[in-house]
Amino acid sequence: MEPENEKPGADELKAGDPKIADSNTVDPKAVEAGTVEPAIVDKEIAEPKVAASEAVASKIVEPKVVVPPPIAQPKIVDTRMNERKFAQVSRRELLKVVPVLALGAFAIPSFQDSLLKKGLGFSDWASARLFRRSHLATTFSDSELTPFEKFPINGYDVEDPGVIFENWTLTVSGAVQKPGDYKLAQIQALPRFRHNTRHVCVEGWDVIGRFGGARLSDFLNMVGADTSARFLTVTCADDYYESLDMATALHPQTLLCYEMYDQPLTRKHGAPLRLNVPTKVGYKQAKYLTDLKVTNVLEKVGYWEDQGYSSFYAL
């Protein structure tokens, strides 16, 4: 096929003989593909030509130029390959596909866990890179709200840990200028924000709820938190615990939530104080908060995260 391309008279031939024109229509494909894998064109197909006897070589050229192809089906035969050579080429090409079996490492029990943790870690890393503090979660109209009684109550253990409201405080510690116990009234004295946002559970269900509370960023400002710290951790009256990256903690829609549907939080929804983080999945929205810490080091990520869930799960 190579010489044909170089022939100056190729165009005339094409115009004159429809059968040769037929073979020309195939040529560009092979030639252009040949530029991609020249090794195969040059070596593996050309080699048998060389390997074969002189007589064979002339036989190969002859039918192409002198004898027109048979009438019925215009069979396009570029070249010939020795049977043994073909088997060898096939085996070699088969071996080249073998690297795909490296994915089988995931099937080996001793590798599986660490590979999957790395994969999940990569997803979390990509999530953090994607996160924009200015990117707000969609808000919805009141008519789109899921009725309050149909807002699911998910507790990992008890639905009501029996918090005694009169004694309740939020204990703040870590990288803050004013650590100590904060009363609910101090949090409620901060500007109140209300929004209708989608609550997405890792299980796959979602509801649209109305949440109200103080911006976590306002509270962090009030307690003089070092916002260059990396994390914020919370612990809860039911021994649940969670953590947030600082970028998410400072997101304008992240609330220290003390209201749902314009009413004080009910016990089953996390009274007196819970997190509402519309940019995160449901298990990040810890209820019955008792402690808040600003830190650079995470000893534990979160109740579910420490069992294998995504650490960053941002929506």
Partner: protein, 231 residues
Amino acid sequence: MSGAVVEIVRAKGDEIETVARAAYEHPLPVRLCHWANAISLFVMVGSGLQIFRAFPSFGAKIPQKDLLNWPKAFAIGGWLGGALQWHLTFMWIYIATGLIYLGYQLFSGHYRQVLFTHRDLPGVWPMVKHYFFFGPKPPAREAYNPLQKHAYTSVIGLGVLSVLTGLAVWKPVQFSWLAWLMGGFHWARLWHFLVMWAILGFVFGHLVMVVLHGWSNFVSILTGWKKDPEY
């Protein structure tokens, strides 16, 4: 060099005997992508179905009406957290494979062998008649007949949709415009599920045709060479 057809010959003394013909149909990148994709698709579907088991419904949470309780034996990951690890790991392999495949096809021009275009339209009906209504077999002139091209082109579209719907389910806030296009997170989840079944429909047809078309067809996606092609 796809499209190249060779005659496989055997030398018997001075005689040259043609024992078979062979076509180089699948360049190495295509074969690698095919098998990497086969594995990652298997894992994505298996882990996806385990994730689905956590909330096997597309309705409200309260009251919950299950659509189908997928058997655990046909799922990967063991529990929701495990399945998410598989899903969020293999999605990168799935996406990378798709991008490498598309990049190779465009760059090499090899896509012309498989892309369904308007030129393939006249050949569709004869092929449908042959496959489904016992019509005569139209003569094969190239590696793929019009229906095959249609199937392989469509499934690329489905693959892209599986990624886009998945992205909308995973990141409905950061990709809110994608979720919005699909009707919000709730619908994106349903679309993601439906696209999976469409892909599984393709895989079923694909496997049936592999069985019907025989060994040389299967070997070609391993070695690149198809013995005795019909063209």
